[in-house]
């Protein structure tokens, strides 16, 4: 029988790393996919989600249990991803060739053997989408990812981004308008 999250959290608060590892195993895939939405790179998504777990472990004593563990952890994870976006904004922009390569890496699955033309088409679509998202201003992109990919409400996004709901609506609208334009060929 699986221990409840609350029990594992209680054990982790007493320094039981095994209990926390169990929590990591439960939520690592969800965490990874959220991080991947922000990073669109396998290794970076892994690092981001792991960083979020480490931050959660360091602050586990501050978790008061008013919400579920995942809800609490989710906020940490999204903040780690937002920090990553800010850092990336300051860092030199990745070249288009590098983006092409990371786009190709995205589609690598050792179990599947896609046909070369399928790989090229899928890679092209993925690259175009990646480039369109990357071209969005950071706040628009964040608002869009949190709503479109993560399904957060406008209110939740406003809390996460520490801004007004009206501002989030404007960011979201502009992001959608830009993506609709740049990805019109896929409509």
């Amino acid at each position: 029988m699986k221990a409840a999250d609350e029990e594992l959290v209680a054990l982790a608060k007493n320094g039981d790393t095994k209990a926390f590892e169990e929590l990591v195993d439960r939520y690592k895939q969800k965490a990874y996919h959220i991080a991947f939405d922000f990073a669109r790179d396998r290794e970076e998504a892994k690092d981001l989600s792991q960083d979020a777990f480490l931050k959660a472990y360091m602050n586990i004593k501050k978790f008061d249990g008013r919400s579920g563990f995942y809800t609490w952890f989710y906020r940490i994870l999204v903040n780690v991803c937002l920090d990553y976006r800010r850092r990336k904004q300051r860092a030199p922009v990745e070249s288009y060739e590098e983006k092409l390569e990371s786009g190709a890496r995205l589609n690598q699955d050792p179990n599947a053997v896609p046909l070369p033309e399928q790989l090229v088409t899928a890679g092209q679509v993925s690259r175009k989408i990646g480039a369109a998202l990357e071209a969005l201003p950071p706040k628009q992109r964040t608002a869009f990812i949190l709503r479109n990919h993560e399904g957060l409400s406008i209110r939740e996004i406003a809390q996460m981004m520490q801004t007004a709901e009206g501002t989030v609506k404007v960011h979201l609208h502009r992001a959608v308008a830009a993506l609709r334009q740049s990805l019109a060929e896929f409509a």
Binding site: V24, F53, N148, H149, K169, L179, A187
Partner: protein, 173 residues
């Protein structure tokens, strides 16, 4: 041509933001009914909505890493957690070695040390300043550079003396 038609779809300006919120289910009942009524009679807004519904879902990247990736992930996490736990335990053991009653003692000691440092530090700083004798010595030093001048003066004095002696000898003769 098709692409051009697709990209040229524009919604009514006043409804564009509402349509986005409508798509995401972020409108209240009244606003949603308003949009419903509007799109029923507005072809461009209907197309705009249709385009959003076909474009936006494809922006979600589906990445499904193999099992080996997850095994690595778990192994790395175990190492990182162990390292973190280790560093935290070290600090905790250090902090736990201090009993609560030691806090005021440590605070007092810190204040005393601070006062002593200030006091002796001040003195040490003053000690670094040049003493009075040395200062006067430093004033003399540049004068030694003029030593040659004084020795020349002495020679001149000696010559004056010789001249006066010579004058006296002549007058005596």
């Amino acid at each position: 041509m098709t692409q051009q038609n697709k990209s040229s779809v524009t919604a009514c300006e006043t409804f564009e933001q509402e349509l986005v919120l409508y798509y995401y289910g972020e409108l209240g009942n009244t606003e949603r009914n308003q949009v419903d009524t509007h799109i029923a009679g507005c072809e461009p807004c209907r197309l705009y909505l249709k385009q959003m519904a076909s474009v936006l879902p494809i922006t979600v990247a589906a990445d499904d890493p193999p099992q080996a990736f997850w095994d690595d992930y778990s192994r790395e996490m175990r190492h990182k957690l162990a390292a973190l736990h280790e560093s935290q335990s070290w600090w905790r053991s250090l902090l736990s070695s201090f009993s609560p009653w030691m806090a005021p003692v440590l605070a007092t000691t810190a204040v005393v040390l601070l006062a002593l440092t200030f006091n002796f530090g001040n003195k040490a700083w003053r000690a670094n300043e040049l003493p009075q004798d040395e200062e006067s010595f430093m004033e003399i030093l540049p004068m030694t550079e003029n030593l040659e001048f004084f020795s020349n003066m002495e020679v001149l004095d000696a010559m004056d003396m010789l001249e006066s002696m010579g004058g006296q000898a002549n007058s005596a003769a």
